[in-house]
Symmetry: C2
Subunit: 383 residues, 2 copies
Amino acid sequence: MKSICSIEGVEAAGIKEGKFGLGLIRAEGTAAGVFTSNLVRAAPIELMMDRIRSGRLSGVIVNSGCANAHTGRRGLEDAAAMAAIGASALGIDEREVGVASTGVIGRYLDLPLIERQSGIAASSLARSAEAETAVARAIMTTDRVEKHALVRGDGFSIGGICKGSGMIAPNMGTMLAFLYTDAEIEQPLLSAALRLATDRSFNRVVVDGDTSTNDVALLTATGAAGRVDANEFERVLEACCRALAVQIAADGEGATRLVEVTVTGAPEEEDAAAVARTIVGSPLVKTAVYGEDPNWGRVIAAAGRAGVEFDPYAASLTIGEGESAVPLVTNGEIVVDLVRAKAAMAGKRVVFTLDLGAGEGEATAWGCDLTEGYVEINGKYTT
Amino acid sequence: MKSICSIEGVEAAGIKEGKFGLGLIRAEGTAAGVFTSNLVRAAPIELMMDRIRSGRLSGVIVNSGCANAHTGRRGLEDAAAMAAIGASALGIDEREVGVASTGVIGRYLDLPLIERQSGIAASSLARSAEAETAVARAIMTTDRVEKHALVRGDGFSIGGICKGSGMIAPNMGTMLAFLYTDAEIEQPLLSAALRLATDRSFNRVVVDGDTSTNDVALLTATGAAGRVDANEFERVLEACCRALAVQIAADGEGATRLVEVTVTGAPEEEDAAAVARTIVGSPLVKTAVYGEDPNWGRVIAAAGRAGVEFDPYAASLTIGEGESAVPLVTNGEIVVDLVRAKAAMAGKRVVFTLDLGAGEGEATAWGCDLTEGYVEINGKYTT
C-alpha cells in the first residue's frame, strides 16, 4: 500500500465508467478542510464549508465527470442527496460524510448513476493496495496517472491521494486531495497544519492559472497511533502534500516536463512564492521549456511582473541542479552558455533557481510545460 | 494612407531583413508616453521614461529582433547610441529622438546593423502609404499582419501603428504603439488622454498574460490642425487605440479567433475590466473557443477568480451579439441551448456578454483563442 490504506482505520473503494467515476472512503476521526478561493463555489464546497465546522468526518463520497458547480439550489440539494447515498453505502451518519465533485461546470448531478456506482463500490470496500488505487483512479478526469503519497513520521504516518490536472492555479491548487493520518491531534492544530502545508504545496502548483470552483483538500486523523509532536506532524504533512503537489504538476494537462522553480533571496517567503508561481505559470516560460529553448529572458521578465520589489541587476539565475547547474545570469550580468543551458533542458524535469539578492525569503513552485496536448485536451472537453 | 502618414507633418520609413527590422518616423510636436509596468524594464524604456519628461519628440527610431532588455549599463549606452543614429538619420536633435526595441531579451544590440539599416531607411523617408506600411512591417516580430488605425475627429485626426503579438498582458498591453495627431493640445492633457485611452484599450488586451519588458506607446501631437476640444480628443484617441488593440488581440500568437468579452453590471468600471480581462486571459476559455466547445462554465469560473464581489446567482451570460445572442445563464439559472451556443462560436469573432447584476460598471476586453500555433511559435523562439 502506498497511500491512504497504509493508515490504520482507512478503507476505500472506487469505480470508473468512461468519464464517470465514484469513490468511497471510510475513516472516522478529527477532520479539517481547505477550500477553493474562487468566488464561484460548487455545491459540494458550500456543503462542506458548513459541515467541516464539526471537526469530524467518518467518510467521503466523491464523483468525477460532473462538478455540480453553478447549479444553484438544486445543486445544493443534490450534494446533500449524494451525502445521504454515501452515508448509506458506508453505514455512517450522513452529517459526517464528506462530499466532493469534479468535472464539467454547469451540469446537474446524475443521482441515479451515483447511487448505482456507490452501491457497486460499497461491495468492494477494503483496506488494500487495490482499493486505494481504485479510489485514486475513480476521481481522475484528464489525469493520466493516479497520485499517491505516504510519508512516515516518528510513530505515525500520513497518506494521501489527489487528482489534477487542469484548472490548476495558485489558490488551493488542486481539484481534490484526501489525506489521512493515524496521528491523534487536536482539531485546531490539524486545521492550522493543513492550511500551512497547503500553502506550501498545492498552492504552489500552477498548470494553467485557472482556479477551480471545486478545489478541496480534506484531512482526517484517525488517532490510532496516539498523540504526536505537533511540529513533527506539520513537517510530515507538508512533505506528504508536496509529494502530491509535484505529481499534479508533472501530470499537468498535456505536460511532457515538470518545471521546478526555486526563488531565494526574497524579502519574505511569500514574496519568493509569488515570484516562483509567476515564473512556473508563465506561458512563455512553459513553451520555452517544451521546446528546450534556453530563452532565460522570459524567466527574468516573468519575475519582473510578480509584484515583488527587487533589483534585476542584483539577481542571479541558474538552470539545472547542484553541481551540474548552469549559470545564466550572475549578479545581473549575462554569463549564459547557450549550449550548456539547452542541454540542461533535455530531461523530464527542468529546474530554475533565481536568487533575487534582496533578503532571506525562499520558496519553490512547480508547474509543467505548455504543449499542443493542453490545447487538444481542452479544446474539446465537453463535446 | 491609413494610419500615421495621414497626419500632416509625419514621415516614415522602414526596412525588414529576416528577424531584424528598423523603423524611422519624423514628426515634431508635443509628446506623451506610457510604459511597461514590469519591474524589469528594457534599456530603451529607461531612456524614454527620462526623455519624455521634456514633453517633446521630433522623431522615433525603433528596431525589432533584439529587445535590449536586461542588458545593464551597456544596454543603456547602446540605447543612447541608437538614439544618436536616429538623430543623424532624421536630421534632428538626439535629445528629441524616441527609442524603442522589441525581440529577444538578454541580448545586446547589434549597433553596426542598426546603423546600416537606419541609413538605408533614411533614404526612403516619405509621407506615403508605402512608408507607413514599411514602418509597421519593420516593427513586427511574430505578428502576421501590420496594424494600422486612423480615426477622424472634428477638424483633426489621430493615426497609429502598433505591433503585438506575444508577451501581451493587462498592464500596458502592447509591445509598441506609435500614435500621431495633427491636433494642437497641451502636454498635460495629452498625457492624461493617452493614459486613459491606454487603460481602455491596450491594457484590456490579453494574449498570454506575460507582461513585456519593452511595452511602450508614444503619442506625438504636431499641432498642424490647431486647437481642438479636449473631450473630443479623448474620445477619438480612445477609438484609435481600441482599433489597434483589437488588431493585436486578433493577431495574437497562433490565434484563429478574436474573443471579445463585455462585462456589465459591475460595481465600478475597473471591476468590469478586471473580470473581462480575467475571462479573455483564461487558458481554459481560450482553448474552448478554439475548439468551438460551448463550455460556458469556464467563463463563470474565470469571473469568480477575478477578485470582484458579485452574486453568481444574480449573473447572466450570453454568447453572440445583438439579436442573435444566445442566452447561457439568466439570473443564475442555466438556460443554455448547447447546439445554438456552439453555432455562435463558428465565426472569426466570439463575443461573450456577462451581466454581474451588481452595479453600473461596464468594460470590454479582447483576447484570442489558444491554439497549437501558440505553442509552436513560442517553443522555439530563439533557436
